[in-house]
């Protein structure tokens, strides 16, 4: 230990720490300044940025003693006397924070830029921002709001870009920051890894490292003998179910017979420090009989393929999913043009900037036993109590975590409590259990809190990805542009465990004829087990993959027909009265055609503003430019016959200090998408309260009823309805009490401005709450909302409660000398039913567009022989601020009958059409059609040089690329 002297946020400090510390470790662990986040530990993501003597540095790899004597500024030093720093205020006003994990890094990097420019007396330009923040990543916002916030703080008078909502209520339809935005911007927001419990141990996981093998023996004796090790557990120590899983229970908590992918967990260790735990993991000896691995979904379906799971009746076939509508052969007979192509999409990674973290706290835990008082439970305004084993984690599905943890521990569901903390991004990648079960096991075993924080490499290795797919699609159309038939065959690489493969690939299948009216459709999808990393949910849920194939084929057909691609789509677009490929009659809320027209108008305006006619493509020197278009639709809610419900509680009470408190509680997840903003708005609108006066508690299974999974773009619709209806019940309750006292009819009362207005008089809510107490009435109501029933696939009924629709056009620049593709501009319009919160909605749209841009151009999680080549963040490029295009977006509001105020889901919709729009733009510019993603500039350039018309670009996931078998005749 040595003395480190620093000035932190203007205050001199001395701290006695080991010389091996990094600056981030000292700030977070020794000084408790957890506003500085660690995303990668490899100087890639920049979210750990702090200023050392005014200079931004990545504190994750900055030796603490390198800063000896220096002045360090962190996010905690920015706001003074409760006042936000102008940069923080601008981030708030412009909606530049979503999940918030990168926000401190973005703000600190931007602060240094502004300080530097101010000293030089210069304005801050877009270019300055793109240079300064090049390596400070954000996965949620898409950066547009970040850029405008920084410019506003630096130069003043920059207004946030937020499209208009056409339908507005008192609260609904307006712009308001997410309720937790201030804490994220100040760096006080707590994510799981920011919690520290007295007596807490640290855990690590022993992973397989091989893609397929039978376990012959596991020897943990050396690990157990290491000083500081408190527990080493294997499958023998799992008292309950050995398996867990969201849809199919096939995933071992700790492997017992075989390992099926390189990230499989074989043993877990809890020790006094994470370093000791890591050392112990290295001492665990596992002997395997190596088994042949199956590494792509096409090989997996072959009769002689090695079996991933020995005991499944269908071998490696997880699910054969079928869509049948009409007689596809008849449809092709009617067609004048038939286009058949095979497309490939890669495995991709969510790259949420917060790696998975779970903390298990044992039943009966008492912090005072460890000389501590601090208990993070108090942070949540909830009295500390550890009557049951508790897991703190960033979770997209708290109740599923609870039930899976309980099953593996051999406990009743109610004997486990999940506390879902803030989440630094999820995007579908935090739906499966990470270490939730493991920390619960270790906590119970050791009697102490146990923290398992994954390193970035472990996060990459472990968690389910977006499915790699091979999609053959055949599209038929008449000369007049009417679609006659679509036939498709999809292979999805589900990896080693089922996760949500069945659901994801079902969505890919049911959306495989696009948002079009097609009379004859036949789609077969094979979701396959392989020995790759499992694949599961990822924003877009399979539709991102099939839309690339569908929309690419649409452009090819249009060209063969000699028809404008927009006119072709317009002619076939779904509308009210049309029927989807699964047989669902669209009865309402189909704003697709309106989204097309808004985007077309913007494309024309782009040229018109320069006095030109619209052009699909043109050249300037060595650069080629072109527009490309993509359409999308995406279901809201689980659908397919699955019961879809959420429960919410609304409670109001009178607090001595704060006055009237209104709280909405539900166990749904906030991962940056803005759910609290939706729930607050729904309740506030009904109760006539200011938005800021409704607070939201999410994800504590002991206090919040089940809101269901945060997936399928369902939370606004389902939990929004639950909150709204609970608020309505609360209103009825309060109206009854008030009417009784005022001697009027409850129906005549109006809730507005925190008061209840009767004819000629009004009472404040505080009085009504007091009356309720006097009357002995509890002002707490809960509402269980059930979404309208849906029909299973294959039955021909309404499979989904609603669909969101969207159109996007991408303007791309292709450098004909290097093959580099840059997206200059994206114009977008999305039918969201009803805008609840303009600001958070626009954030979802922009973030989705940039994420889908990454899907087209930069992102590729590469597996080699079942082991990720992408094992560090430096080997996975998500879009940086340099990639972000100008985004113009519009909201179309065709309310859906049962949505809260008419709203539909939007979380995934915007991240579907961007990739095909870019691929179509590349074709329009270069004449080269990319048949796989991501676009590789190397291959693209060579194709341009060689005159190739269609290319499989880049280094494939599979080498050699597997070839689809001859089309099988699948019985209808």
């Amino acid at each position: 230990m040595s003395l480190l002297k620093l000035t932190i946020n203007g205050k001199p400090i001395e701290v006695d720490v080991p010389q091996s510390r990094t600056l981030a470790q000292v700030l977070r662990y020794d000084l408790g300044l957890t506003g500085t986040k660690i995303g990668c530990n490899e100087a890639e993501c920049g979210i750990c940025t702090v200023l050392v003597d005014g200079t931004p540095v990545d504190s994750c790899i900055y030796p603490a003693f390198k800063a000896q004597g220096a002045s360090v500024e962190t996010i905690e030093g920015l706001s003074r006397n409760g006042e936000l720093h102008p940069l923080q205020q601008a981030f708030l006003d412009h909606g530049a924070t979503q999940c918030g994990i990168c926000t401190p890094g973005l703000i600190m990097t931007a602060k240094a830029l502004i300080d530097e420019k101010k000293a030089a007396g210069e304005e801050v330009t877009d270019r300055d921002i793109k240079i300064a923040l090049k390596d400070t990543y954000c996965r949620c916002t898409g950066y547009q709001s970040v850029i405008s916030a920084i410019k506003a703080a630096a130069n003043g008078d920059v207004q946030p870009y937020i499209p208009e909502a056409k339908l507005a209520g008192d609260i609904i339809g307006h712009s308001r920051p997410n309720p937790d935005a201030v804490s994220k911007i100040k760096g006080t927001a707590l994510y799981t890894s920011d919690y520290a419990f007295p007596g807490m141990l640290h855990a690590r996981t022993k992973r397989a490292g091989i893609s397929h093998g039978r376990i012959k023996s596991i020897d943990t004796s050396k690990a157990r003998a290491l000083e500081g090790v408190r527990a080493v557990l294997t499958h023998e120590d799992v008292p309950g179910s050995k398996l867990h899983g969201l849809v199919t229970t096939d995933w071992p908590a700790l492997c017992f017979d075989k390992v099926r992918y390189s990230g499989d967990a074989v043993a877990i260790v809890a020790a006094d420090t994470a370093d000791i735990a890591a050392e112990a993991v290295n001492l665990i000896e596992v002997e395997y009989e190596t088994l042949p691995a199956v590494l792509n979904p096409i090989d997996a379906k072959k009769p002689d393929a090695p079996l991933v799971h020995d005991d499944r009746p269908d071998g490696n076939l997880l699910k054969h999913i079928k869509v049948r509508k009409g007689q596809v052969e008849d449809g092709f007979k009617d067609a004048d043009v038939i286009v058949e192509r095979t497309y490939r999409t890669p495995m991709t990674e969510h790259l949420f900037l917060e790696p998975e973290c779970s903390i298990g706290v044992p039943k009966g835990y008492d912090p005072s036993q460890f000389g501590g008082e601090m208990d993070p439970d108090a942070v949540r305004g909830v009295k500390a109590r550890h009557g049951k084993v508790t897991v703190y984690c960033g979770s997209q599905i708290p109740y599923a975590d609870r039930d899976q943890t309980a099953a593996c521990l051999g406990l009743e569901n109610e004997e486990v409590r999940i506390v879902a903390t803030l989440m630094g991004g999820g995007f579908g990648g935090k739906e499966d259990c990470a270490a939730q079960i493991h920390v619960a096991l270790l906590a119970q075993k050791t009697g102490r809190p146990v923290k398992m924080l994954y390193r970035r490499d472990e996060s990459l290795l472990f968690h389910p990805k977006r499915h790699a797919t091979v999609i053959r699609i055949k599209t038929g159309a008449k000369k007049d542009g009417t679609l006659t038939a679509v036939e498709a065959e999809l292979y999805g690489d589900g990896g080693a465990y089922a996760s949500l493969s069945e659901k994801v690939m079902t969505r890919a299948t049911t959306h495989a004829s696009g948002p079009y009216d097609v009379p004859h459709v036949k789609v077969d999808c094979f979701a396959m087990y392989t020995n790759n990393t499992p694949c599961g949910a990822f924003r877009g849920f399979g539709v991102t993959q099939s839309a690339f194939a569908v929309e690419s084929n649409m452009d090819i057909v249009a060209e063969e027909l000699g028809m404008d691609p927009i006119e072709f789509r317009r002619r076939n677009a779904l509308d009210v009265g049309k029927v989807t490929c699964t047989g669902q009659l669209m009865r309402e809320s189909v704003g697709l055609k309106e989204t097309i027209e808004l985007v077309v108008a913007d494309m024309k305006a782009h040229h018109g503003s320069k006095g030109e006619e619209f052009r699909w493509q043109w050249e300037e020197g060595p650069k080629k430019y072109a527009w490309g278009i993509g359409l999308a639709y995406k279901n809201t809610g689980l659908g397919g016959g699955a019961p879809d419900k959420a429960e919410a509680i609304v409670e109001m009470w009178l607090d001595e200090d704060e006055g009237v408190i209104t709280e909405v509680r539900t166990s749904s997840a906030e991962m940056g998408q803005g759910l609290p903003a939706v729930l607050s708005a729904c309740a506030a609108e009904e109760l006539g309260l200011p938005y800021e006066k409704v607070r939201v508690l999410l994800g504590d299974t002991d206090f919040c009823p089940d809101g269901g999974p945060t997936t399928a773009s369902r939370q606004t619709y389902v939990s929004g309805n639950a909150a709204r209806n609970a608020a309505k019940s609360m209103r009825a309750l309060l109206a009854g009490i008030a009417a009784n006292r005022l001697g009027c009819s409850p129906e005549t009362l109006v809730f507005k401005d925190s008061k209840i207005h009767a004819d000629g008089t009004s009472v404040c809510l505080a009085d009504v709450l007091t009356w309720a107490k006097e009357d002995g009435m509890e002002t707490k109501v809960s509402y269980e909302y059930w979404a309208p029933k849906t029909k299973p696939l294959g039955t021909g009924g309404a499979m989904h409660v609603a669909f969101g629709f969207g159109t996007q056009a991408a303007l791309c620049e292709i450098d004909t000398e290097t093959g580099k593709v840059q997206v200059i501009k994206v114009v977008a319009a999305h039918d969201v039913g009803r805008v609840i919160n303009r600001m958070t909605l626009e954030g979802q749209v922009e973030g989705g567009i940039v994420m889908c841009l990454g899907n087209a151009l930069t992102e590729h999680f590469v597996m080699e022989n079942g082991v990720p080549w992408t094992n560090v963040m430096a080997r996975y490029k998500m879009p940086s601020i340099k990639h972000t295009p100008e985004i113009i977006s519009h909201f179309v509001e065709h309310p859906t009958n049962d949505g809260p105020f008419g709203a539909k889901g939007v979380g995934e919709l915007s991240s579907i059409p961007t990739s095909p729009a870019i691929a179509n733009a590349i074709y329009n510019a270069t004449g080269v059609r990319v048949m796989s993603l991501p676009v590789d500039q190397d291959t693209l350039l060579m194709a341009m040089k060689n005159g190739d018309k269609e290319v499989l670009v880049g280094w494939g996931d599979y080498d050699p690329v597997p070839v689809l078998p001859k089309t099988e005749t699948v019985p209808a």
């Binding site: 990545d58 030796p63 990097t109 300064a132 400070t136 590469v862 996975y876 500039q937 350039l941 880049g954």
Partner: protein
Amino acid sequence: MAYWTHYHSPQTIEETLDVLTRYEGRARMIGGGTDLILDMQQGHHPPVEALVELARIDGLKDITEEDGFLIIGGAVPHTQLVQDARVARYGTCLVESCGVIGGPQVRNVGTLAGNVAHALPAGDGTIGLLALGGDVEIADADGLRWVPMAEMFLGPGRSAIDSTKAFISRLRFPKTGEHEGSAFRRVMRPQGVALPMISMAGRIRLTGETVESVRISIGPAGPTPFLAEKTMAFLAGKKSSDAVFAEAASVASKEASLRTSKHRASSEYRHEMIRVQLPKVLAKAAERARTGKAAPEGVGL
């Protein structure tokens, strides 16, 4: 795991060498540490007992001029180098190459000396300095001595400097004078590899419109940073023109060993990039030689 146990910040070269001697090979020198610490964290380098930083050694954070040379202190971070008007003027390609390393946070900490000592075949700063005809000053138990850069590189990631015993105290290059200019370009892959597909730098001296002398560096074009000597010989005495530069590129394309590296670039693409980019580098360097104006381009992008 603790990747290092002790951290030393010596103030003089002598003290630094004493510390290294004391640890008998168990300590490593770092500039910013941005390469070594990552290598240790990712298991490419074993943990060390001690890190010894260059940053606080007297005088090593300075950029000075001496006898026609520009001298860069071993502890000068990229950002300082990139912002220095003298480097921009007398070694433009070095600003252009160091200005695209990593991101701003890394450039604020990482150093050219560290980049050169790391000896990656396509280290940006290394390619820039190699074209300028740089030397490095090695400090070890035998004292200080200047060594031409080309003698430094033993293989990919291996340099003649044993960082447990020695370090680069300073780097230098002859200032570009009248009728001289330099330029750098690189091509990055948009997918995840932090290394360039190809980068190249040139330094040119004109007499009238004739190329009097030229130096060209390319990376990756072999196991070590590559000096394209055949191309340099081809160009000497030729007219400075687009046509000649295009011919030079085809010589370079043959001379350089341009392999396919999986997940990074194909051999064909690298050849094509030399054909397209090298003439631009040479033309830009020649333009700077002619006009005497040198505003570095692409810094930070």
